[in-house]
């Protein structure tokens, strides 16, 4: 028993001393699908920062469902920076805990969006159900797999994309959009708890004819499952996915890591980082980099949540809070 206790003590001591020896640590709290991007980006930044200042940074990553991750930061997870897949998750840091100022988005270029993405339709090889656009998703017999809009950002983007599509059709209005999204959800057999779980359901379990997800996820699917099993369909109109980043002021001021954290996020806008984003199929903001990778980013007509839904707070309240349009679709059954 004593030997065992000593072993534990030794393990604890080594892990503590290891932490003490390295330079300042930054914790980047992020969401599920950003792993691959930051896996590539962090070493590049650490290297650049070292040549610039001589300081060796250690960057810790935390990944999980975006809402849950934001909640962990609100509840005290000591994140220096937070990188989410939609602005409301970062707004919550201000609204619920005053961890950041209200105008956080204006502190970095492009409204703090270092890159963007969009919702695409993923179909099985050869497109057997001839799915070309959102309107094909409501046809009888078509099964659609998407993550749960109630608990995931990915699902919310798809929901809003379909809603916006219906709204912008000739003669489209609020009522028609509601009916369209209702018909779409009737074709959804599984609402997974996360974007990655939805992909697994579609690819591994063979459920559904269409998967709704981010454009950059399509590339991840190709890398992991092979390119032979599916096709990416770009709809005639889609929503711009806006994954924002910010430093968490209260945490960096307490830890004394503001300078490092700010540099880390600013690095996202450098050509090197923009290239890493493009390589991970995230649409870069830098026009030069975008041009270089133009072949992998087909031009798609996009709308933003601000344009069509009057901002994220409004969209969240009307559509996804309890009693919102999503709940109403199911309540009517």
């Amino acid at each position: 028993m004593t030997r065992f206790t000593r072993l534990i003590a030794a393990t604890l001591a080594t892990s503590l001393s290891a932490a003490a020896l390295a330079g300042p640590e930054l914790l980047n709290v992020s969401y599920d699908v950003m792993r691959d991007f930051y896996k590539d980006l962090n070493p590049a930044f650490v290297k650049t920062y070292q040549t610039k200042t001589g300081e060796t940074l250690v960057i810790q990553q935390s990944h999980g469902g975006s809402g849950k991750q934001a909640r962990s930061v609100i509840d005290g997870l000591q994140a220096d920076v937070i990188t989410m897949n939609m602005p409301p998750d970062i707004d919550a840091l201000h609204d619920k805990a005053k961890l950041i100022p209200e105008n956080w988005a204006s502190r970095l270029p492009n409204n703090s969006l270092p890159f963007t993405s969009l919702q695409v339709l993923i179909v099985r090889k050869g497109n057997p159900k001839q799915i070309k656009d959102w309107s094909d998703l409501v046809k009888p017999g078509v099964q659609v797999v998407m993550p749960n809009p109630k608990v995931t950002g990915n699902g919310r983007y798809s929901y809003l994309a379909a809603w916006g599509f219906a709204l912008k059709q000739p003669g489209g209005n609020e009522q028609k959009a509601r009916e369209f999204v209702g018909a779409l959800l009737k074709n959804v057999p599984v609402l997974d708890g996360g974007g990655r779980a939805a992909t697994t359901t579609f690819m591994q379990r063979g459920i559904g004819d269409v998967l709704l997800t981010f454009e950059n996820e399509a590339e991840m699917i190709a890398r992991e499952f092979g390119r032979g099993g599916f096709e990416v369909i770009y709809p005639s109109l889609s929503v711009r996915a806006e994954p924002p980043v910010t430093i968490v002021d209260k945490v960096v001021d307490k830890k004394g890591t503001r300078k490092q954290a700010e540099d880390y996020l600013k690095f996202l806008w450098t050509p090197a980082a923009q290239e890493i984003a493009a390589q991970n199929y995230l649409r870069p903001q830098d026009p030069a980099v975008l041009k270089k990778y133009a072949s992998q980013f087909p031009a798609v007509k996009l709308f933003t949540v601000d344009e069509v839904f009057g901002g994220w707070r409004n969209a969240q309240k009307t559509h996804f809070d309890d009693g919102g349009s999503f709940d109403q679709v199911y309540a009517k059954k």
Binding site: K68, R71, D95, V151, D192, G193, R205, I207, D322, A331
Partner: protein, 277 residues
């Protein structure tokens, strides 16, 4: 009557005191935080949250699926316990040991493994799909996961009772001309009844709160395959802590009631047992 009956044995104060302090710190205090958080709602607000149509539908699903799973375990648990106690066959020890597997396997892994098997393209699912039976992503999948989770309980509570059952009773029944089936119904089954009930309630109580395995195998469609713990998560996504705790408090009250029922059954049984002695 005094709080404690006299005894010559030492250590009551130490043991009892430690039990109460530790119980309070680890269980009661945190759970009271839940109740206190909920109490910031008025009764009307509380009632609105916990009696919403969608919440009611998920109670129905959670309790219905748990009941079904516990029922399945009741029947098959008795069967498995019977076979393990009464018959000899090859591999019996291994099977006996395997019954505890659901205790040890992490629920998420169990959920993923069961989904892999019962999906329409899975090892088992592919044979069910042509028959029009879909298990994974349907309420039936939830029943499968909950059956897995609750499997050890009935087996492990009934096993010792069957082992201790005196052969004389059955022989006497046989001598009096009872058929084997009559003996089972009139002699064996009543003796195993309290243990069966305990096992059933334990399996049921465990199933009601289960999350990790269900989330992978359920379709999570509102009003169809959405369990109560998922609704709690949904509330948290909106930063609605109070709404989440309100539903959690209802679940807690139900859990408490269930466990109280189990303990009453056991108490009642041990009294009867004691009296027979």
């Amino acid at each position: 009557m005094k709080f404690k009956q006299a005894s010559v044995l030492p250590g009551f104060n130490l043991a009892f005191g430690y039990t109460i302090v530790y119980l309070s710190l680890i269980v009661l205090l945190p759970l009271s935080a839940l109740v206190i958080k909920t109490s910031s709602l008025s009764w009307a607000q509380f009632w609105d949250v916990v009696s919403d149509d969608r919440v009611l539908a998920s109670y129905k699903l959670t309790f219905g699926a748990s009941l079904l799973a516990a029922g399945l375990n009741l029947v098959f648990g008795l069967l498995v316990a019977w076979v393990l106690v009464r018959y000899q066959f090859w591999g019996k020890r291994f099977i006996d040991a395997l019954v505890d597997l659901p205790f040890a396997l992490p629920t998420a892994v169990a959920g993923i493994a069961l989904t892999t098997l019962y999906a329409p393209n899975g090892l088992i699912g592919q044979y069910l799909a042509p028959l029009g039976i879909q298990v994974a992503f349907k309420p039936l999948g939830i029943v499968v996961a909950l059956t897995f989770i609750g499997l050890p309980f009935v087996v492990r509570t009934v096993q010792p009772v069957l082992q201790d059952l005196e052969a004389e009773l059955e022989e006497a029944a046989a001598c009096l001309g009872a058929s084997r089936w009559q003996t089972f119904c009139k002699v064996i089954f009543p003796a195993a009844m309290p243990a069966l009930l305990t096992g059933f309630t334990l399996a049921f109580a465990r199933a009601v709160g289960e999350y990790g395995s269900v989330i992978f195998i359920a379709g999570n469609i509102p009003f169809e395959s959405e369990i109560v713990p998922l609704l709690i998560i949904g509330k948290l996504e909106q930063y609605d802590y109070v709404g989440a705790t309100a539903i959690a408090t209802v679940m807690l009250a139900i859990s408490f009631a269930l466990i109280l029922v189990i303990n009453t059954i056991q108490w009642w049984h041990s009294r009867r047992h004691g009296m027979r002695k």
